[in-house]
């Protein structure tokens, strides 16, 4: 039987890799030697292997780059011993972690304890599948892409809770409780801000969202960009919101008991998560691979924009002091929530009045929206910022203990 190798025929509902030119190339090559179905499987595995390695290598590079950048921000050098500018530092770290003893604490739930790093890394890798790295280069361009990313990354919260519980350690449980409370709360403004993006783009597929950005969405919806950035640095447990692993309070949070290769995997998932979210910001708000000569240099623009995202995160991390858990909750529900709702309402109204008969928006429409939304963003951030500053100042005066969540936990017997 002859194999079908043209893209048009491969685009069947079963053809999960539809639209990926590299896939067809490998598939066509392999089809000369082996049966069709095996060629299909081989091509798929090769693509996935490339993606997985790219993400994990990227995580290693991010871990080095973040430490270097943080060093610069804090007026010191950062890792500079091994390799040029210390660039081989992640390899040294990894070698150390792999060769260390892998300890499972006494009384821990072995199975769940071991499953956690696996779930964290695999959910990250699965979520990466829908990000378009260049024009038409995504593992799969789902028509529910944005929802898919939200769904898969929500697996993290269950993994974190499992880590906290299975470690049989009180600090791990505190950290997990805090992390999950933050994750669940910040899910709401993040989803609402993404809804604005989806409304303007008219599609949930990430490929279509990039195409729709004749004007990058961080200009069209500055509020959504702001809320998404803040919400995501909370979901990644990064510094202004990092009570979940606040080392001065609860050691290292939910991964206190992890060591050796499991700790390395959790770290990979964290840095990979930062990389993934930066890629998401690049795709959703900075127009992804779009740029001059996008057909050939799309990957370059995507990488540059991803780097901008990572830089923003490191910048935020090195600038702001840590908030308390109740302050984090206040910021989420009393500051980011109203902002995301205002953004959604403004965007929906603008799209309703500006779109033409076929329901599409022209570039000039997008510029008009950008102008209006800029004003809306400045006014509402100023207004709600004033309110939240008042609230936080008052709460620091009256509250001495921490948030209700933390007060509730110690009564429960662990193990």
């Amino acid at each position: 039987m002859r194999c079908i190798t043209t893209p048009e025929n491969m685009l069947s509902p079963e053809g999960a890799f539809g639209g990926n030119p590299l896939f067809y190339w490998i598939y066509g090559l392999a089809a000369h030697l082996v049966p069709c179905w095996l060629a299909y499987v081989i091509a798929g595995l090769v693509i996935m292997l490339i993606l997985i390695n790219a993400v994990l290598l990227g995580a290693a590079i991010v871990s080095w780059g973040e430490r270097r950048l943080l060093g610069r921000f804090q007026n010191r050098v950062g890792p500079n011993r091994w390799g040029p500018f210390g660039a081989l530092q992640p390899i040294a770290d990894l070698t150390k972690l792999i060769t260390k003893e892998d300890i499972i604490p006494y009384g821990a739930d072995r199975l769940a304890f071991t499953a956690v790093p696996v779930i964290m890394v695999s959910s990250l890798l699965v979520a990466t599948a829908v990000i378009p790295f260049a024009k038409d280069v995504a593992l799969v361009d789902l028509n529910v892409g944005v929802l898919f990313i939200l769904a898969v990354s929500s697996l993290t919260s269950i993994a974190i809770f499992t880590a906290g519980w299975a470690s049989n350690n009180r600090y791990a449980l505190f950290g997990a409780g805090r992390a999950v409370a933050v994750l669940i709360s910040y899910e709401v403004p993040v989803v609402l801000s993404l809804l604005g993006v989806v409304v303007v783009a008219g599609s949930m597929s990430l490929g279509d969202i990039v195409v729709a950005q004749a004007v990058p969405f961080f200009l069209v919806q500055p509020l959504a960009f702001f809320v998404f950035l803040a919400g995501m640095s909370a979901e990644l447990n990064r510094t202004p919101f990092d009570v979940a692993e606040a080392e001065s309070e609860i050691i290292a949070g939910y991964h206190t008991e992890y060591s050796g290769i499991k700790f390395a995997l959790i770290q990979a998932a964290e840095f990979g998560g930062a990389l993934f979210v930066s890629g998401l910001i690049a795709t959703l708000f900075l127009a992804g691979w779009a740029g001059p000569v996008a057909d050939w240099l799309g990957w370059l623009w995507f990488l540059i924009k991803t780097f901008i995202g990572i830089f923003l995160f490191v910048w935020i991390r090195s600038t702001f002091p840590r908030l308390r858990l109740d302050q984090i909750m206040a910021v989420c529900w009393k500051f980011l929530m109203p902002l995301s709702i205002i953004n959604l309402a403004a965007v929906v109204l603008e799209v309703y009045f500006l779109r033409d008969a076929s329901g599409t928006l022209s570039t000039s429409d997008l510029w008009i929206m950008a102008g209006i939304n800029m004003v809306v963003a400045v006014v509402s951030i100023a207004f709600f910022g004033r309110i939240i500053r008042q609230k936080i100042r008052n709460s620091s005066r009256t509250m001495t203990a921490s948030a209700p969540m933390v007060r509730g936990v110690p009564t429960i017997e662990v193990g």
Binding site: N143, V144, L147, A151, S154, M204
Partner: protein
């Protein structure tokens, strides 16, 4: 399609094994984790039945929110490791379930279903179902050999169109229910002292 069969039976084993685990395992925390596994497997079934949107919603709501809430609740049990104990009704409950299962299996297998394939609507209906988000995706368009306009005339606006159009009354009722549940949950959890 033997591949489809393999995936189907693997999912079936995971779903039913996990479900048995949920009601049989003594450790409540593990029961909650198994429940999350069952949810994921059910999501896999949705994908196999062309309901991709529903599969994503299933993972988002069931695994991302409901399973986590269950784990929060599990923390309240006095002895989590041995918490999932049966009550006196074990034997009657098993009897009732088995009888009901027998009745349902008998109905499912013996009924003469009027299927879409029987009416010759199989391929069109598959297109209609994958349009759940209202936007035809490239792969199903190419597979059907139809243009975007033709698919739209077959499928209409998809799930969203039905939700806001034909089923708008239940839709609003459900939103009201959610509001009531949110208020009720707050009132219950706050207690009367504070």
């Amino acid at each position: 399609m033997w591949f489809e069969q393999v995936v189907f039976w693997a999912l079936a084993v995971v779903a039913i094994g996990g479900a048995v685990g949920v009601v049989m395992v003594r450790d409540l925390f593990r029961a909650a984790l198994l429940l999350a596994t069952v949810f994921v497997a059910v999501g896999g079934f949705y994908v196999m039945m062309n309901a991709e949107f529903l599969a994503v919603v299933q993972i988002l709501i069931y695994v991302g929110a409901i399973a986590v809430l269950f784990i929060f609740g599990v923390m309240l049990t006095r002895d989590v490791r041995q918490g999932n104990t049966p009550n006196r009704l074990q034997i009657p409950a098993a009897l009732v379930s088995v009888l009901l299962l027998a009745a349902m299996l008998f109905t499912a297998v013996t009924t003469d279903w009027t299927t879409l394939a029987g009416l010759g609507l199989e391929s069109q209906s598959q297109i209609a179902q994958t349009q759940a988000v209202g936007i035809p995706d490239a792969s199903s368009l190419a597979a059907s050999g139809l243009s975007a306009q033709e698919v739209e005339s077959i499928a209409g606006g998809g799930l969203a169109d039905l939700l806001i159009g034909e089923f708008v009354l239940p839709f609003e009722a459900v939103s009201l229910l959610l509001l009531a549940a949110a208020i009720g949950g707050l009132a219950l959890a706050r207690g009367r002292g504070r």
